[in-house]
Symmetry: C2
Subunit: 192 residues, 2 copies
Amino acid sequence: MKSKRTEAELKDAVRRLLTRKSYAEIKITDITAEAGKAVGSFYRYFEDKDALLTSLAGDFQAALRSHVVEQLGHGHTMSTVDDIRHHVRAYWATYREHLPEIVGIFQASMASGTFRHIHDELRRRQVEHWTRHILEIGAPAGKNEESARMAGLAISCMLESFAYHRLAESPGGDDEEAIETLTGLIARGLLG
Amino acid sequence: MKSKRTEAELKDAVRRLLTRKSYAEIKITDITAEAGKAVGSFYRYFEDKDALLTSLAGDFQAALRSHVVEQLGHGHTMSTVDDIRHHVRAYWATYREHLPEIVGIFQASMASGTFRHIHDELRRRQVEHWTRHILEIGAPAGKNEESARMAGLAISCMLESFAYHRLAESPGGDDEEAIETLTGLIARGLLG
DNA sequence: TGTACATCAGTGAACGCGCGTTCACTGATGTAC
DNA sequence: TGTACATCAGTGAACGCGCGTTCACTGATGTAC
Protein backbone atom coordinates (compact mmCIF):
# COMPACT_ATOMS: atom_id res chain seq x y z
CA MET A 1 0.00 0.00 0.00
CA LYS A 2 1.99 2.93 -1.35
CA SER A 3 -1.15 5.00 -1.59
CA LYS A 4 -0.39 7.56 1.13
CA ARG A 5 3.14 7.96 -0.14
CA THR A 6 2.17 8.82 -3.70
CA GLU A 7 -0.45 11.21 -2.49
CA ALA A 8 2.15 13.00 -0.41
CA GLU A 9 4.59 13.02 -3.32
CA LEU A 10 2.02 14.73 -5.52
CA LYS A 11 1.40 17.34 -2.85
CA ASP A 12 5.12 17.94 -2.45
CA ALA A 13 5.47 18.27 -6.19
CA VAL A 14 2.93 21.12 -6.30
CA ARG A 15 4.59 22.83 -3.37
CA ARG A 16 7.89 22.74 -5.22
CA LEU A 17 6.31 23.93 -8.46
CA LEU A 18 4.62 26.83 -6.68
CA THR A 19 8.03 28.29 -5.88
CA ARG A 20 8.72 28.46 -9.62
CA LYS A 21 5.39 29.08 -11.36
CA SER A 22 2.04 30.56 -10.51
CA TYR A 23 -0.78 28.19 -9.59
CA ALA A 24 -2.60 29.06 -12.82
CA GLU A 25 0.45 28.12 -14.89
CA ILE A 26 0.87 24.68 -13.33
CA LYS A 27 -0.57 21.85 -15.43
CA ILE A 28 -1.57 18.40 -14.18
CA THR A 29 1.21 16.93 -16.29
CA ASP A 30 3.68 19.30 -14.65
CA ILE A 31 2.67 17.96 -11.26
CA THR A 32 2.94 14.29 -12.18
CA ALA A 33 6.19 14.89 -14.07
CA GLU A 34 7.65 16.68 -11.04
CA ALA A 35 6.55 13.78 -8.84
CA GLY A 36 7.95 11.24 -11.31
CA LYS A 37 4.56 9.62 -11.94
CA ALA A 38 2.29 9.09 -14.93
CA VAL A 39 -0.62 11.45 -15.56
CA GLY A 40 -3.22 8.84 -14.73
CA SER A 41 -1.90 8.45 -11.21
CA PHE A 42 -3.04 11.92 -10.35
CA TYR A 43 -6.69 10.99 -10.65
CA ARG A 44 -6.40 8.09 -8.23
CA TYR A 45 -5.86 10.65 -5.48
CA PHE A 46 -7.46 13.93 -6.54
CA GLU A 47 -10.48 14.90 -8.57
CA ASP A 48 -8.63 17.82 -10.12
CA LYS A 49 -5.98 20.45 -9.45
CA ASP A 50 -8.25 22.45 -7.17
CA ALA A 51 -8.89 19.37 -5.02
CA LEU A 52 -5.16 19.06 -4.43
CA LEU A 53 -4.83 22.69 -3.42
CA THR A 54 -7.88 22.34 -1.17
CA SER A 55 -6.18 19.40 0.47
CA LEU A 56 -3.01 21.44 1.02
CA ALA A 57 -5.15 24.22 2.47
CA GLY A 58 -6.70 21.74 4.88
CA ASP A 59 -3.29 20.56 6.06
CA PHE A 60 -2.24 24.15 6.53
CA GLN A 61 -5.28 25.08 8.56
CA ALA A 62 -4.79 22.04 10.76
CA ALA A 63 -1.14 22.97 11.27
CA LEU A 64 -2.18 26.50 12.18
CA ARG A 65 -4.63 25.35 14.79
CA SER A 66 -2.06 23.41 16.77
CA HIS A 67 0.85 25.71 16.00
CA VAL A 68 -0.75 28.97 17.05
CA VAL A 69 -1.93 27.54 20.33
CA GLU A 70 1.40 26.10 21.37
CA GLN A 71 3.50 28.99 20.12
CA LEU A 72 1.57 31.87 21.56
CA GLY A 73 -0.13 30.22 24.49
CA HIS A 74 -3.43 31.55 25.68
CA GLY A 75 -2.93 34.35 28.15
CA HIS A 76 -0.76 36.53 25.89
CA THR A 77 -1.33 40.21 25.30
CA MET A 78 -0.19 42.97 22.94
CA SER A 79 0.55 45.87 25.21
CA THR A 80 4.30 46.22 24.65
CA VAL A 81 6.56 46.50 21.65
CA ASP A 82 8.06 43.14 22.57
CA ASP A 83 4.64 41.47 22.50
CA ILE A 84 4.03 42.89 19.06
CA ARG A 85 7.44 41.86 17.80
CA HIS A 86 6.77 38.37 19.07
CA HIS A 87 3.51 38.22 17.13
CA VAL A 88 4.99 39.59 13.94
CA ARG A 89 7.88 37.16 14.16
CA ALA A 90 5.53 34.20 14.62
CA TYR A 91 3.45 35.33 11.66
CA TRP A 92 6.56 35.71 9.53
CA ALA A 93 7.84 32.26 10.46
CA THR A 94 4.50 30.64 9.62
CA TYR A 95 4.35 32.45 6.31
CA ARG A 96 7.86 31.36 5.42
CA GLU A 97 7.31 27.76 6.47
CA HIS A 98 4.09 27.37 4.50
CA LEU A 99 5.02 29.71 1.68
CA PRO A 100 3.97 27.51 -1.26
CA GLU A 101 0.47 26.71 -0.06
CA ILE A 102 -0.16 30.25 1.13
CA VAL A 103 0.97 31.58 -2.23
CA GLY A 104 -1.16 29.04 -4.06
CA ILE A 105 -4.27 29.81 -2.03
CA PHE A 106 -3.71 33.52 -2.40
CA GLN A 107 -3.29 33.32 -6.17
CA ALA A 108 -6.24 30.98 -6.59
CA SER A 109 -8.43 33.24 -4.46
CA MET A 110 -7.84 36.03 -6.95
CA ALA A 111 -8.94 33.87 -9.88
CA SER A 112 -11.77 31.60 -8.79
CA GLY A 113 -14.58 31.97 -6.32
CA THR A 114 -13.80 28.51 -4.95
CA PHE A 115 -10.76 29.71 -3.04
CA ARG A 116 -12.09 33.09 -2.10
CA HIS A 117 -13.75 31.71 1.01
CA ILE A 118 -10.74 29.66 2.07
CA HIS A 119 -8.59 32.74 1.88
CA ASP A 120 -11.29 34.80 3.59
CA GLU A 121 -11.36 32.32 6.42
CA LEU A 122 -7.59 32.56 6.91
CA ARG A 123 -7.72 36.32 6.96
CA ARG A 124 -10.77 36.38 9.20
CA ARG A 125 -8.77 34.60 11.92
CA GLN A 126 -6.00 37.17 11.65
CA VAL A 127 -8.40 40.08 11.79
CA GLU A 128 -10.23 38.56 14.72
CA HIS A 129 -6.99 38.14 16.60
CA TRP A 130 -5.73 41.67 16.08
CA THR A 131 -9.14 43.15 16.78
CA ARG A 132 -9.34 41.42 20.12
CA HIS A 133 -5.96 42.76 21.15
CA ILE A 134 -6.65 46.27 19.92
CA LEU A 135 -9.77 46.44 22.06
CA GLU A 136 -7.97 44.83 24.99
CA ILE A 137 -5.20 47.42 25.17
CA GLY A 138 -7.58 50.30 24.52
CA ALA A 139 -5.51 51.53 21.61
CA PRO A 140 -6.37 54.91 20.09
CA ALA A 141 -7.23 53.03 16.86
CA GLY A 142 -9.87 51.03 18.72
CA LYS A 143 -12.35 53.42 20.28
CA ASN A 144 -15.17 51.04 19.48
CA GLU A 145 -15.61 47.53 18.15
CA GLU A 146 -16.05 48.70 14.58
CA SER A 147 -12.99 50.91 14.36
CA ALA A 148 -10.91 48.24 16.08
CA ARG A 149 -12.06 45.71 13.49
CA MET A 150 -11.09 48.02 10.68
CA ALA A 151 -7.67 48.67 12.17
CA GLY A 152 -7.27 44.90 12.59
CA LEU A 153 -8.09 44.43 8.94
CA ALA A 154 -5.60 47.11 7.89
CA ILE A 155 -2.82 45.49 9.91
CA SER A 156 -3.67 42.03 8.58
CA CYS A 157 -3.58 43.39 5.06
CA MET A 158 -0.19 44.98 5.64
CA LEU A 159 1.28 41.82 7.12
CA GLU A 160 -0.02 39.55 4.38
CA SER A 161 0.77 41.77 1.45
CA PHE A 162 4.21 42.74 2.75
CA ALA A 163 5.12 39.13 3.52
CA TYR A 164 3.91 38.02 0.10
CA HIS A 165 6.00 40.67 -1.59
CA ARG A 166 9.16 40.00 0.40
CA LEU A 167 8.99 36.22 0.57
CA ALA A 168 7.28 35.18 -2.65
CA GLU A 169 7.86 37.94 -5.17
CA SER A 170 11.33 39.18 -4.35
CA PRO A 171 12.89 36.72 -1.94
CA GLY A 172 16.33 36.96 -0.45
CA GLY A 173 15.93 39.97 1.81
CA ASP A 174 16.74 40.21 5.48
CA ASP A 175 13.95 38.77 7.61
CA GLU A 176 14.93 40.57 10.81
CA GLU A 177 14.84 43.95 9.16
CA ALA A 178 11.40 43.24 7.75
CA ILE A 179 10.16 42.17 11.16
CA GLU A 180 11.59 45.30 12.77
CA THR A 181 9.93 47.55 10.20
CA LEU A 182 6.54 45.94 10.70
CA THR A 183 6.91 45.88 14.46
CA GLY A 184 7.81 49.56 14.55
CA LEU A 185 4.93 50.66 12.35
CA ILE A 186 2.37 48.54 14.18
CA ALA A 187 3.63 49.38 17.65
CA ARG A 188 3.58 53.14 17.05
CA GLY A 189 0.36 52.86 15.04
CA LEU A 190 -1.44 51.04 17.84
CA LEU A 191 0.22 52.17 21.04
CA GLY A 192 0.59 55.78 19.83
CA MET B 1 -14.95 55.37 -39.05
CA LYS B 2 -16.43 53.76 -35.98
CA SER B 3 -13.11 52.17 -35.17
CA LYS B 4 -12.26 54.17 -32.03
CA ARG B 5 -15.78 53.79 -30.74
CA THR B 6 -15.87 50.01 -30.91
CA GLU B 7 -12.46 49.78 -29.33
CA ALA B 8 -13.68 51.89 -26.43
CA GLU B 9 -16.85 49.81 -26.15
CA LEU B 10 -14.80 46.64 -25.82
CA LYS B 11 -12.69 48.24 -23.11
CA ASP B 12 -15.77 49.41 -21.26
CA ALA B 13 -17.24 45.94 -21.53
CA VAL B 14 -14.24 44.39 -19.75
CA ARG B 15 -14.33 47.08 -17.10
CA ARG B 16 -17.96 46.23 -16.43
CA LEU B 17 -17.29 42.50 -16.42
CA LEU B 18 -14.41 42.91 -13.97
CA THR B 19 -16.86 44.13 -11.36
CA ARG B 20 -18.68 40.79 -11.65
CA LYS B 21 -16.06 38.14 -12.49
CA SER B 22 -12.36 37.67 -12.08
CA TYR B 23 -10.11 38.44 -15.03
CA ALA B 24 -9.32 34.74 -15.42
CA GLU B 25 -12.99 33.87 -15.67
CA ILE B 26 -13.74 36.37 -18.42
CA LYS B 27 -13.86 34.84 -21.91
CA ILE B 28 -13.44 36.68 -25.20
CA THR B 29 -17.04 35.84 -26.03
CA ASP B 30 -18.14 37.37 -22.70
CA ILE B 31 -16.46 40.60 -23.67
CA THR B 32 -17.96 40.82 -27.14
CA ALA B 33 -21.38 39.75 -25.87
CA GLU B 34 -21.23 42.44 -23.17
CA ALA B 35 -20.27 44.98 -25.81
CA GLY B 36 -23.00 43.77 -28.16
CA LYS B 37 -20.54 42.76 -30.88
CA ALA B 38 -19.60 39.57 -32.68
CA VAL B 39 -16.56 37.58 -31.58
CA GLY B 40 -14.60 38.39 -34.70
CA SER B 41 -14.73 42.11 -33.97
CA PHE B 42 -12.51 41.65 -30.97
CA TYR B 43 -9.54 40.68 -33.10
CA ARG B 44 -9.76 43.82 -35.24
CA TYR B 45 -8.68 45.78 -32.18
CA PHE B 46 -6.73 43.48 -29.88
CA GLU B 47 -4.39 40.56 -30.35
CA ASP B 48 -5.84 38.78 -27.31
CA LYS B 49 -7.35 39.38 -23.88
CA ASP B 50 -4.01 40.35 -22.36
CA ALA B 51 -3.53 43.01 -25.02
CA LEU B 52 -6.80 44.62 -23.98
CA LEU B 53 -5.82 44.65 -20.32
CA THR B 54 -2.40 46.03 -21.24
CA SER B 55 -4.17 48.80 -23.11
CA LEU B 56 -6.33 49.56 -20.06
CA ALA B 57 -3.20 49.59 -17.94
CA GLY B 58 -1.63 52.11 -20.31
CA ASP B 59 -4.65 54.40 -20.06
CA PHE B 60 -4.53 54.12 -16.30
CA GLN B 61 -0.86 54.97 -16.07
CA ALA B 62 -1.36 57.96 -18.35
CA ALA B 63 -4.28 59.11 -16.19
CA LEU B 64 -2.13 58.73 -13.08
CA ARG B 65 0.66 60.82 -14.49
CA SER B 66 -1.55 63.86 -15.09
CA HIS B 67 -3.83 63.30 -12.12
CA VAL B 68 -1.18 62.96 -9.46
CA VAL B 69 0.60 66.08 -10.60
CA GLU B 70 -2.47 68.30 -10.62
CA GLN B 71 -4.01 66.89 -7.48
CA LEU B 72 -1.04 66.93 -5.18
CA GLY B 73 1.06 69.63 -6.73
CA HIS B 74 4.79 69.58 -6.34
CA GLY B 75 5.85 71.23 -3.13
CA HIS B 76 3.69 69.05 -0.82
CA THR B 77 4.96 67.35 2.30
CA MET B 78 3.81 64.70 4.78
CA SER B 79 4.64 66.21 8.13
CA THR B 80 1.15 66.58 9.58
CA VAL B 81 -1.83 64.29 10.03
CA ASP B 82 -3.74 66.46 7.58
CA ASP B 83 -1.11 65.96 4.89
CA ILE B 84 -1.31 62.24 5.38
CA ARG B 85 -5.10 62.22 5.32
CA HIS B 86 -4.96 64.19 2.11
CA HIS B 87 -2.67 61.59 0.55
CA VAL B 88 -4.71 58.64 1.72
CA ARG B 89 -7.90 60.25 0.44
CA ALA B 90 -6.35 60.88 -2.96
CA TYR B 91 -5.15 57.29 -3.15
CA TRP B 92 -8.58 56.00 -2.18
CA ALA B 93 -10.31 58.15 -4.78
CA THR B 94 -7.98 56.94 -7.51
CA TYR B 95 -8.46 53.34 -6.51
CA ARG B 96 -12.23 53.72 -6.54
CA GLU B 97 -12.30 55.54 -9.85
CA HIS B 98 -10.11 52.99 -11.63
CA LEU B 99 -11.27 49.97 -9.67
CA PRO B 100 -11.88 47.57 -12.58
CA GLU B 101 -8.50 48.00 -14.25
CA ILE B 102 -6.61 47.97 -10.96
CA VAL B 103 -8.41 44.79 -9.97
CA GLY B 104 -7.72 43.24 -13.37
CA ILE B 105 -4.03 44.13 -13.29
CA PHE B 106 -3.70 42.90 -9.73
CA GLN B 107 -5.37 39.57 -10.48
CA ALA B 108 -3.44 39.06 -13.69
CA SER B 109 -0.16 39.86 -11.92
CA MET B 110 -0.81 36.92 -9.61
CA ALA B 111 -1.31 34.53 -12.50
CA SER B 112 1.02 35.44 -15.32
CA GLY B 113 4.49 36.91 -15.46
CA THR B 114 3.34 39.32 -18.15
CA PHE B 115 1.52 41.56 -15.71
CA ARG B 116 3.92 41.16 -12.83
CA HIS B 117 6.08 44.00 -14.08
CA ILE B 118 3.15 46.31 -14.81
CA HIS B 119 1.91 45.84 -11.27
CA ASP B 120 5.47 46.17 -9.93
CA GLU B 121 5.82 49.46 -11.76
CA LEU B 122 2.63 50.82 -10.21
CA ARG B 123 3.71 49.80 -6.75
CA ARG B 124 7.25 51.08 -7.30
CA ARG B 125 5.86 54.59 -7.79
CA GLN B 126 3.92 54.36 -4.54
CA VAL B 127 6.88 53.07 -2.61
CA GLU B 128 9.13 55.73 -4.08
CA HIS B 129 6.68 58.41 -3.09
CA TRP B 130 6.26 57.30 0.51
CA THR B 131 9.98 56.66 0.91
CA ARG B 132 10.80 60.19 -0.17
CA HIS B 133 8.42 61.65 2.38
CA ILE B 134 9.55 59.36 5.17
CA LEU B 135 13.13 60.50 4.69
CA GLU B 136 12.04 64.13 4.34
CA ILE B 137 10.26 64.29 7.67
CA GLY B 138 12.96 62.29 9.44
CA ALA B 139 10.44 59.78 10.74
CA PRO B 140 11.58 57.20 13.30
CA ALA B 141 10.82 54.53 10.68
CA GLY B 142 13.32 56.13 8.30
CA LYS B 143 16.70 56.28 10.01
CA ASN B 144 18.38 55.47 6.73
CA GLU B 145 17.44 55.09 3.08
CA GLU B 146 16.96 51.33 3.37
CA SER B 147 14.67 51.30 6.38
CA ALA B 148 12.67 54.16 4.90
CA ARG B 149 12.21 52.17 1.71
CA MET B 150 11.01 49.16 3.66
CA ALA B 151 8.53 51.26 5.65
CA GLY B 152 7.36 52.79 2.38
CA LEU B 153 6.78 49.32 1.00
CA ALA B 154 4.86 48.24 4.09
CA ILE B 155 2.58 51.27 3.89
CA SER B 156 2.03 50.78 0.16
CA CYS B 157 1.14 47.16 0.80
CA MET B 158 -1.33 48.12 3.49
CA LEU B 159 -3.01 50.75 1.32
CA GLU B 160 -3.30 48.51 -1.71
CA SER B 161 -4.41 45.38 0.08
CA PHE B 162 -6.85 47.20 2.34
CA ALA B 163 -8.36 49.13 -0.56
CA TYR B 164 -8.67 45.96 -2.61
CA HIS B 165 -10.43 44.20 0.21
CA ARG B 166 -12.84 47.04 0.98
CA LEU B 167 -13.60 48.19 -2.54
CA ALA B 168 -13.36 45.05 -4.66
CA GLU B 169 -14.01 42.09 -2.36
CA SER B 170 -16.58 43.39 0.07
CA PRO B 171 -17.82 46.71 -1.27
CA GLY B 172 -20.41 48.90 0.34
CA GLY B 173 -18.53 50.10 3.43
CA ASP B 174 -18.01 53.65 4.57
CA ASP B 175 -15.11 55.30 2.73
CA GLU B 176 -14.51 58.01 5.31
CA GLU B 177 -14.11 55.53 8.11
CA ALA B 178 -11.63 53.54 6.07
CA ILE B 179 -9.66 56.69 5.28
CA GLU B 180 -9.62 57.69 8.94
CA THR B 181 -8.38 54.27 10.03
CA LEU B 182 -5.55 54.28 7.51
CA THR B 183 -4.67 57.88 8.27
CA GLY B 184 -4.52 57.19 11.99
CA LEU B 185 -2.33 54.12 11.66
CA ILE B 186 0.05 55.73 9.19
CA ALA B 187 0.26 59.04 11.03
CA ARG B 188 1.08 57.44 14.38
CA GLY B 189 3.26 54.84 12.68
CA LEU B 190 5.34 57.45 10.94
CA LEU B 191 5.19 60.55 13.11
CA GLY B 192 5.44 58.55 16.34
C1' DT C 1 -27.86 64.65 -57.33
C1' DG C 2 -26.80 60.10 -59.10
C1' DT C 3 -24.09 56.07 -60.23
C1' DA C 4 -20.22 52.98 -59.88
C1' DC C 5 -16.49 51.45 -57.25
C1' DA C 6 -13.35 50.98 -53.16
C1' DT C 7 -12.59 50.52 -48.49
C1' DC C 8 -13.17 48.85 -44.24
C1' DA C 9 -15.88 47.67 -39.82
C1' DG C 10 -18.46 44.01 -38.49
C1' DT C 11 -20.10 39.01 -38.61
C1' DG C 12 -20.31 34.16 -36.82
C1' DA C 13 -19.78 29.39 -38.43
C1' DA C 14 -15.95 26.50 -38.65
C1' DC C 15 -11.49 25.17 -37.31
C1' DG C 16 -7.95 23.46 -34.36
C1' DC C 17 -4.96 23.63 -30.28
C1' DG C 18 -4.02 22.65 -25.59
C1' DC C 19 -4.98 20.30 -21.81
C1' DG C 20 -7.89 17.82 -18.64
C1' DT C 21 -9.72 13.35 -18.15
C1' DT C 22 -10.50 8.45 -19.13
C1' DC C 23 -9.81 3.55 -19.33
C1' DA C 24 -8.09 -0.83 -20.77
C1' DC C 25 -3.95 -2.68 -19.57
C1' DT C 26 0.51 -4.06 -16.71
C1' DG C 27 2.86 -5.60 -13.00
C1' DA C 28 3.64 -5.48 -8.14
C1' DT C 29 1.95 -6.76 -3.58
C1' DG C 30 -1.03 -9.29 -0.62
C1' DT C 31 -3.73 -13.55 0.62
C1' DA C 32 -5.39 -18.42 0.74
C1' DC C 33 -4.47 -23.11 0.89
C1' DT D 1 8.00 -22.94 0.77
C1' DG D 2 5.30 -22.97 -3.33
C1' DT D 3 1.42 -22.13 -6.40
C1' DA D 4 -2.75 -19.93 -7.85
C1' DC D 5 -5.64 -16.11 -7.55
C1' DA D 6 -7.26 -11.38 -6.12
C1' DT D 7 -6.50 -6.75 -5.43
C1' DC D 8 -5.00 -2.52 -6.38
C1' DA D 9 -1.37 1.21 -7.54
C1' DG D 10 0.48 2.78 -11.54
C1' DT D 11 0.62 3.64 -16.74
C1' DG D 12 0.16 6.60 -20.96
C1' DA D 13 -2.08 6.53 -25.50
C1' DA D 14 -6.39 8.12 -26.96
C1' DC D 15 -10.32 10.88 -26.47
C1' DG D 16 -13.00 15.00 -26.32
C1' DC D 17 -14.32 19.51 -24.43
C1' DG D 18 -13.86 24.35 -24.15
C1' DC D 19 -12.35 28.24 -25.95
C1' DG D 20 -9.31 31.12 -28.65
C1' DT D 21 -8.64 32.36 -33.31
C1' DT D 22 -9.53 32.58 -38.28
C1' DC D 23 -11.49 33.94 -42.62
C1' DA D 24 -14.68 34.27 -46.37
C1' DC D 25 -18.51 36.98 -46.54
C1' DT D 26 -21.95 41.13 -45.77
C1' DG D 27 -23.27 45.59 -45.74
C1' DA D 28 -22.35 50.25 -44.44
C1' DT D 29 -19.69 54.40 -45.33
C1' DG D 30 -16.65 57.08 -48.09
C1' DT D 31 -14.87 58.75 -52.65
C1' DA D 32 -14.60 59.83 -57.68
C1' DC D 33 -16.60 61.56 -61.70
